[in-house]
């Protein structure tokens, strides 16, 4: 068994400690193990489903080298991805699917970014649509020197009314962890958090919620929805928690509010009484968003708000964010999608290896600038430990 493992890992050019439990590996290494396993059974066709979702740029390069090597060995590879650049980099032939049907297929030379998106969506997307800057108000949130040992340190920034602040960084830079610490899911070990000028330390999301915070988690299904329960109920959880007095829930009022929000957000479902699991992925995302909008939080932390969402729904989510901004609320948006950050954020903070390494106002932001900050310190490495 050991020899087999060593051999396949060598084949893809990776060397790992064979005794280490799989759960302790980096995500990239876990992927390698999975690929090695596929190789160990002498597969002829390899199916990769969003394999580079959590890779750093360097890891993507290494991964592509492996893929090209496998290609040369005669393996057939089906590579599913949302990352258009990657598809152009590594693909020979592209097949586009939408709503369960193939809309277009052909050699990669026949496509460019625009036509690819058109095949996915059926219309052109205007990449130059940007959010409008709003007049800024009081500071809603401020962190100073926030530190969680081994994960992030010395984080300081502020968030004002009417702002969308983007949080950029490579995977592993600690962005989601920072968000979780602010929101009370995890703790931070030192530093201060101020909500509207008052120092706070949230021990649970329940507390954070009561102080006007909200967080759209990265993992929508597992952390955002109760699949067996109705759409209406799911969207109402935060509202119920906030608007109940002494346990008494104003159901009529809440139902009205939540139904309005659900419609606003554009959730398409046959009935709000149906279980949320009957909805499509994109609509499920919207239900989670609806939940937080219904909570009327003042500060929303969005963790990868448009990941896994089709291009059409993406625009709708941006529109909701703009409205949120215009209402004088604040958004902290974690995103790995650089174009998204560049078009939606008023300000971009860049994190690397657990620290904030750069801040770019809208006018100065560009892909090169952001990546420059993100890569400079980390030099292609990922570990914080």
């Amino acid at each position: 068994m050991r020899r087999l493992a060593e051999r396949v890992l060598n084949e893809i050019g990776v060397s790992l400690n064979l005794e280490a439990p799989a759960g302790t590996l980096t995500v990239a290494h876990q992927q390698m193990v999975a690929i090695a396993r596929a190789l160990s059974v002498h597969s002829r066709v390899l199916l990769l489903d969003e394999p580079t979702a959590v890779f750093t740029a360097a890891e993507v390069e290494a991964f592509f080298r492996i893929v090209r090597r496998l290609k040369a060995q005669g393996l057939g590879i089906i590579y599913i991805s949302h990352h258009l650049e990657e598809i152009f980099q590594i693909g020979d032939r592209i097949t586009v699917m939408r709503d369960g049907r193939v809309t277009r297929t052909g050699p990669v030379q026949e496509f460019d970014r625009m036509s690819l998106v058109r095949a996915m969506v059926g219309r052109d997307i205007d990449f130059s649509r940007r959010s409008q800057p709003t007049a800024l108000g009081e500071e809603l949130l401020r962190v100073e020197g926030l530190t969680r040992r081994g994960v992030f340190q010395g984080i300081s920034f502020g968030l004002r009314c009417g702002e969308i602040v983007g949080l950029a960084g490579l995977v592993g830079s600690g962005r989601t962890e920072l968000a979780r610490a602010i929101f009370g899911v995890d703790r931070f070990h030192s530093g201060n958090l101020y909500i509207r000028g008052v120092g706070r330390r949230f021990r649970s999301p329940c507390q954070a919620l009561s102080h006007g915070l909200g967080m759209l988690p990265e993992n929508r299904k597992e952390e955002g929805l109760v699949p067996s329960r109705p759409v209406l109920e799911n969207a109402a959880y935060c509202a119920v928690q906030l608007q109940s007095r002494f346990g008494w829930v104003p159901w009529a009022r809440i139902r009205r509010l939540v139904r309005a929000v659900i419609e606003n957000v554009g959730v398409r479902c046959a009935s709000t009484n149906l279980g949320v699991r009957t909805l499509s992925g994109g609509n499920q995302q919207k239900v989670v968003i609806a939940k937080w909008l219904a909570a009327r939080s003042d500060i929303l932390i969005l963790d990868e708000p448009t990941r896994g969402v089709d291009v059409g729904a993406r625009e709708e989510i941006y529109a909701l964010m703009w409205r949120f901004k215009a209402d004088g609320k604040a958004i902290l948006m974690i995103s790995s999608d650089l174009p998204e950050l560049l078009t939606q954020a008023d300000r971009i903070l860049v994190m690397a290896k657990g620290r904030i390494v750069g801040e770019l106002p809208r006018e100065q932001a560009s892909e090169e600038a952001v990546l420059g900050f993100a890569l400079e310190t980390s030099r292609g490495q990922r570990h914080v430990n």
Partner: protein
């Protein structure tokens, strides 16, 4: 045309409602069967009312179990709690009925709180915690009662006549078991509409999502276990009222039956799914089934086997509907 309307209506109901409806149909079927077999005796009002009275104890306990199961847990100690409460009621009679009743409910509630603490706060598996509690409480009841049944209070007086006659006369002519069961039903219905009660579904359905949505998960879980114990002791009170005796083993059969009733009623053991009405129907189905077996002259030894088959059937059907 009508079929299309009906189908649309059906599809717009939640899974919970669908299941409850199906369970209701199943019960109607069973009642029909019983009616046929008994040549109409079964559906006489007196007999139907009797069905309710006989199963009130199981009904009350099953609601407690439902609460816990909705929160994705289980309470194996409800049977022992019932036994303990019967013993407590007997020995505390001499303090007067109101005080005795109070103690009978609060002492098991303390143990329920211990369950809640370990499961909700310390996050130990509910199965094991309540298993340990079951052993503990049963043993405690034995120690208090000296291992045998108790027929009279500490001062030697027989069980307060008030309680026993209450059982028959009850409130305004409605016998005690029915009154209590109705009160419990109403209480649960109210609880599930309050904030913490409503959140039980979320906590059981997807705990992580509940936490991330700001739901006070620990408190909700804790209350579920507390509630289960309280309801178990209420069941114990009814048991004493019925037979005039307190015995540590009084609740033994109710544990598995309560789980069966909740399951037949459509609740899922993984939490987040289930209704009160469903559990109510589950209890009545079990009761009707018993009746039917008697009518068919099936030996009582076969009861566990029949229950087993019914449980399997119910789970299978519930599972099928889920997959659609």
């Amino acid at each position: 045309m009508l079929e299309a309307v009906a189908r649309r209506w059906w599809q717009q109901r939640t899974v919970d409602t669908q299941r409850t409806f199906t369970t209701f149909l199943a019960m109607l079927l069973l009642i029909a069967l019983a009616a046929v077999l008994s040549r109409g005796v079964f559906i006489k009002p007196t007999n139907l009312l009797n069905l309710v009275f006989q199963n009130a104890i199981l009904g009350v306990i099953s609601f407690g179990q439902l609460l816990v199961i909705l929160s994705a847990g289980i309470d194996l100690s409800v049977g022992s709690m019932l036994g303990l409460s019967t013993v407590l009621l007997m020995i505390f009679q001499f303090l007067g009925l109101p005080v005795a009743l109070l103690l009978t409910v609060t002492i098991p509630a303390v143990f329920g709180a211990v369950n809640g603490y370990f499961v909700a706060q310390r996050r130990l598996p509910a199965f094991v915690v309540t298993l340990a509690m079951m052993l503990f409480v049963y043993s405690l009841a034995q120690v208090i009662s000296g291992g045998a049944g108790i027929y009279s209070g500490l001062n030697g007086a027989p069980l307060s006549p008030v309680l026993v006659s209450f059982n028959r006369r009850g409130l305004l002519g409605v016998p005690l078991p029915a009154v209590v069961w109705l009160l419990v039903l109403a209480g649960m219905a109210l609880f599930l509409r309050l904030r913490l009660g409503h959140f039980v579904f979320a906590v059981g359905g997807n705990e992580r999502a509940a936490v991330f949505s700001g739901v006070p998960v620990t408190m909700v879980r804790f209350l579920a276990y507390l509630g289960a114990s309280v309801l178990a002791s209420v069941g114990g009170i009814l048991a004493v009222a019925r037979v005039g005796e307190g015995h540590p083993a009084a609740g033994q059969t109710y544990l598995l039956d309560s789980i069966a009733a909740v399951t037949i009623g459509g609740a899922s053991l993984s939490g987040g799914e289930g209704t009160m009405i469903g559990t109510l129907l589950g209890v009545l189905i079990l009761g009707t089934l018993n009746n039917i077996l008697n009518l068919l002259n099936v030996s009582p030894m076969m009861q566990p086997a029949v229950k087993g088959v019914v449980i399997l059937l119910a789970v299978y059907l519930n599972g099928r509907r889920e997959q659609r």
